[in-house]
């Protein structure tokens, strides 16, 4: 809170010197407290110059996902109003689950600069080096447990919309929940519902390869992956992207809660890069090949096999094959 006050004053006069006494009075703190906070901000990579004559001035804000930066100018009503930030954590989903169990409100987010044990779908590890956005959101929707997978679709649409606005590239969704640029993965989503007869809460985990250096990925993952930095050939301000996403997501999640899921599903279908493709579904060592012709409202993929039979695919690893019409 105190950091917010100091930062607010520093940001308002960014580049200008502010005398210590003025900083203290505007932030309603003692001079000693101000000096402590400035030390903390410098440890967070803020560059704050000091002149014995003129005072302090903010020179540079770090390109990190610091909560007080995200919350400055955040336009949402409840998404991200409570942020738990970690420089490194085992898994943001695990932390969020714990917070949710302790009663954290809907819209609370957990965000980390890197994860040591990031979780992917199907029990896989999710590589989470620094430069990415690794974030989990606590949701408490009033829906039956079997409808929780719909939140994966809602989240996919929100991420795709945010990224489309950011990069104006060919952003789309690979079933069930990978966001692609072209045919390369730039974001994954892991939705975990905690339920005990009723749905207690849902954790939506989002991993975006923002300014990630692809060389930090294992070689076998590199070819199918990309990052926004790689696509745009520049560093992307993460704070702005997170703010935009939280706003897009809150809007869509409100639509979802208002019963407008069919419209969101229609948008998912428009963004889908899987429907209409020949796909291979890998699951527990078995492979199913067919043409993806649609998804139903629970996010189940419908395949048409070579013999014309239809098959429902609940889950699995989906590979897009080359077009074969």
């Amino acid at each position: 809170m105190s950091k917010n006050q100091i930062l607010k004053v520093l940001h308002e006069k960014k580049g200008e010197y502010i005398p210590l006494e003025k900083l203290a009075s505007e932030a309603e703190m003692s001079s000693e407290q101000v000096l402590d906070e400035i030390e903390w901000l410098r440890k967070d990579d803020y560059i704050i110059e000091h002149s014995s004559e003129h005072g302090y001035r903010l020179i540079k804000v770090p390109n990190r996902l610091l909560p007080y930066e995200i919350q400055r100018d955040l336009q949402t009503t409840y998404m991200g109003k409570e942020i738990h930030y970690y420089k490194e954590v085992d898994s943001t989903n695990e932390v969020a689950k714990k917070l949710a169990e302790e009663g954290a409100p809907e819209g609370t987010i957990v965000i980390a600069e890197s994860q040591s044990s990031g979780k992917g779908r199907l029990g896989k590890k999710w590589i989470s080096p620094s430069g990415g956005v690794w974030m989990s959101i606590i949701l408490r929707p009033d829906i039956p447990p079997h409808e929780a997978p719909r939140l994966t679709l809602v989240t996919g649409v929100a991420v795709a919309e945010t990224l489309s606005k950011e990069c104006r590239l060919d952003v789309g969704i690979k079933w069930p929940n990978d966001i692609l640029i072209g045919n390369k993965k730039v974001c994954g989503i892991l939705t975990e519902a905690v339920t005990d007869r009723n749905l207690d809460f849902v954790i939506v985990g989002i991993g975006i390869d923002l300014n990630v250096d692809l060389e930090s990925f294992p070689p076998e993952l590199r070819e199918g992956a990309t990052s926004l930095k790689r696509e745009l050939d520049r560093d992307i301000p993460g704070v702005k992207l997170v703010q935009n996403f939280l706003l897009d997501f809150e809007k869509l999640y409100n639509e979802f809660k208002a019963g407008n899921f069919p419209e969101i599903l229609a948008e998912w279908r428009k963004l889908s890069k899987t429907i209409g493709r020949q796909v291979e579904i890998h699951k527990r060592g078995r492979v199913v090949i067919g043409e993806a012709i649609g998804i139903n409202k629970d996010g189940i993929l419908i395949l048409e096999m070579e013999d014309g039979n239809l098959r429902k695919i609940m889950s699995g690893e989906c590979l897009h094959r080359n077009q074969e019409y």
Copy 2:
């Protein structure tokens, strides 16, 4: 041909008087021929004024689908380069079939101001009063007969695109081949393939309720139908619309022939108002109810029934039910 020449000269100086001798020399005809042609044009509702002192001037072009008007400024390479026009005909599809059998080239169109026996799908009559666009196109694609239904999808996308550009309203496609504005039908498509082991030719019939007066429809059809005139509250220039459609259609049909059907199908899915809806399929007195979750590449609709089973719907009358999520 001669009409085209006279019209070209009259159009170039629309509103200005042109002496008879000048008309004759520029159109490379005798004065007698010019007078005959002017008589014919007046019978087609052109308003051409005569002044014994100054000659002839074109005042007004009729809002009719006259071939020499369509072909002026037509930007296509082969679509509509040969037009067979009728003030009234039994069925443009029937005429086109006959012309195709006699060897008419690809892109030949038959167009009528009204049809006395317009054909709809499933053997139904298609109401075709004056004010509409009733048109059939001869195509000779090099595809196996079972792929001919794809041309219905291609045509649907082209019509939807043309109408969207024209009216900027909520244009979409109801499976299999109705073009809707909002939830009202504004256009139907009837594709007929003539095949004898190989595909000889395909007739694509298109009926657009352009400036149609809905009161000329039987009462039971009125509620579900609309016209562009009704939606926009003004008369729509039919010639321009047909020109735009022929250009959009030629482009898309060329894409189809170049093997880019998957992209067109993706566009169809985006335009679909059926996918994601609860629908009733009526066929031969039986009704199937389910959720439309996709179409395959042959345009077959996939329904998910209440018990979770999937079902392929080849054809039938499709009714959209209200959303029931």
